[in-house]
């Protein structure tokens, strides 16, 4: 039940945010280039991918061709899946290598990225265990994205993305145990939607 409430709140937050920007852009006829630096350029919703059962967040696109992307995510894993309510805070950095355009579609077939995340569930006694390797999780991923330009509505583009990633603990386990752990076993898949503001 709590997860639905959480998702609802997130959706409303994203909706409200996008409406604000939409109204402000239509009033003063500003473009995305005129956006204040602190206003996020898009919002994301993601399923799985090691940063929560569901996670949502906002981020910025920058660079000459908008191929750099930085995001902040807030993820949630319900009690039934983690033993207690798990909240995960994630910083994600993505770089899109290629871009193909067709009509209203934009295809980014290859992206590489890194995330660092931390959850409310931490190891006890950080005086004996170093805080970074035992509490932070670093992941590296490879993925892709498809965007569709929207003529109407609150968003300029809506995109679908996927990520295949792994984290430092699983890489360490693989290096330590080449005979019992297969290379393919350390990867997992995340799926998400990207809503670009006007």
């Amino acid at each position: 039940m709590r997860i639905f409430i959480f998702l609802l709140v997130m959706c409303i937050a994203v909706q409200a945010n996008s409406q604000d920007i939409h109204s402000s852009t239509s009033d003063s006829s500003t473009t995305s280039e005129d956006r204040k630096w602190y206003v996020p350029s898009h919002a994301n919703i993601q399923f799985a991918g090691g940063i929560g059962m569901f996670s949502a967040g906002v981020g910025y696109l920058y660079g000459k061709t908008n191929h750099f992307q930085s995001d902040f995510y807030f993820g949630y894993v319900p009690e039934s899946k983690a033993g207690k309510h798990m909240y995960i805070y994630t910083l994600k950095q993505t770089f899109y290598f290629l871009e193909y355009n067709y009509k209203t579609f934009q295809l980014y077939p290859l992206s590489l990225g890194l995330t660092v995340n931390m959850s409310n569930i931490t190891s006890p006694n950080t005086d004996t265990y170093p805080i970074v390797p035992y509490n932070f999780m670093f992941t590296a991923f490879m993925g892709g994205k498809v965007d569709k330009k929207m003529a109407a509505g609150p968003f300029s583009r809506v995109g679908f993305f996927y990520e295949i990633g792994t984290n430092q603990v699983e890489v360490e386990a693989l290096i330590r145990n080449p005979a019992t752990i297969k290379f393919s076993e350390i990867f997992n898949l995340g799926l998400g939607l990207n809503f670009r503001f006007k």
């Binding site: 399923f47 799985a48 991918g49 090691g50 940063i51 929560g52 059962m53 993820g75 894993v77 899946k81 983690a82 033993g83 207690k84 798990m86 995960i88 193909y100 067709y102 009509k103 295809l107 077939p109 290859l110 959850s119 569930i121 931490t122 190891s123 006890p124 006694n125 004996t128 265990y129 390797p133 035992y134 509490n135 999780m137 490879m142 295949i164 984290n167 603990v169 699983e170 360490e172 386990a173 330590r176 145990n177 080449p178 005979a179 019992t180 752990i181 297969k182 393919s184 076993e185 350390i186 990867f187 997992n188 898949l189 995340g190």
Partner: protein, 287 residues
């Protein structure tokens, strides 16, 4: 133009796509909510209870022999060698894995551990160690093995397994649970069907870095209170040590790790093989 792009894509990235499809097909957790979430199958849950039922269903001779191993942290390769070795030895009833089953407490580490352990011909029991509290391991361990303090009886012998990781409970004075231990030992004392008692825990009471120093003598006195208690079995230090540190002259064993460690200038890994009928303890190398 789009077709050109697609063609180019096919040339360049069909390989990439195929490789990633193969990866995804052989993933353990395709959709991982968090590395710390509990993503166990039904067959990977409640193992201590299931294995006890398996142990009781097996028919064997009257002698009880069990393997005492520990500290498999990040060492599934070594565990594989141990499992292969144990499957070739006859007359062993079960294995006790005394803590530190994983290193960083992620769900996948427990799944990799389980994959090796399920190849064992004998049942096994997991006992909690200090690394089984890392991140969310507290909850994953509980889902996988069950209660942290438990006891079971097998052929006139009682095995009491207790959580002694006081440090991981922030020295709350309740771990180890001395009153529970005393009541279990008293119950065994009063039961004529029980001849011998073994107490198993991860941290030895004389290790004050992880064991609550204020509870050391309570723990030792509880063990010394019954003539039926043969030995207290521990791991944690990765070094082989048999001693009688308290006035009651009870045996305290610390077992070497399954993980390869440097001992006497040589890389070693070993386990203990304990015969209950004549109380012999053998150290076996894993090779």
């Amino acid at each position: 133009m789009f077709m050109d792009a697609i063609l180019k894509m096919q040339m360049r990235y069909s390989f990439l796509l195929i490789v990633s499809m193969v990866f995804l097909y052989s993933c353990i957790d395709l959709f991982q909510y968090s590395p710390n979430a509990i993503s166990l199958d039904e067959s990977q849950k409640d193992l201590n209870r299931k294995n006890y039922e398996e142990l009781l269903s097996k028919e064997g001779d009257d002698t009880v022999r069990f393997v005492f191993a520990a500290d498999t942290q990040f060492a599934t390769d070594e565990l594989k060698i141990l499992v292969d070795q144990l499957n070739n030895i006859e007359g062993i009833d079960f294995m006790l894995l005394a803590g530190d089953l994983v290193q960083k407490g992620t769900s996948k580490e427990y799944k990799w551990l389980h994959r090796e352990l399920e190849r064992l011909n004998i049942p096994y029991f997991g006992i909690v160690g200090n690394h089984d509290f890392e991140r969310n391991a507290e909850n994953i361990f509980e889902a996988m093995f069950g209660e942290r303090d438990f006891s079971f009886e097998y052929k006139h012998t009682k095995f009491i397994c207790i959580d002694t990781n006081s440090k991981e409970w922030n020295w709350n004075g309740k771990v180890p649970d001395i009153s529970w231990l005393q009541s279990e030992i008293d119950a065994a004392d009063a039961n004529d069907d029980i001849d011998k008692v073994y107490v198993i825990s991860h941290v030895a009471p004389y290790d004050h870095v992880f064991f609550d120093a204020e509870l050391e003598y309570d723990f030792a006195n509880a063990i010394g209170s019954s003539p039926k208690v043969i030995a207290s079995l521990h791991s944690h230090s990765h070094k082989w040590k048999i001693s009688r540190p308290y006035p009651d002259k009870k045996i305290y064993l610390q077992v070497t790790s399954v993980k390869q460690v440097k001992e006497n200038k040589w890389w070693q890994r070993s386990y203990g093989l304990i015969s209950v009928s004549d109380t012999t303890i053998f150290k076996y190398k894993i090779y």
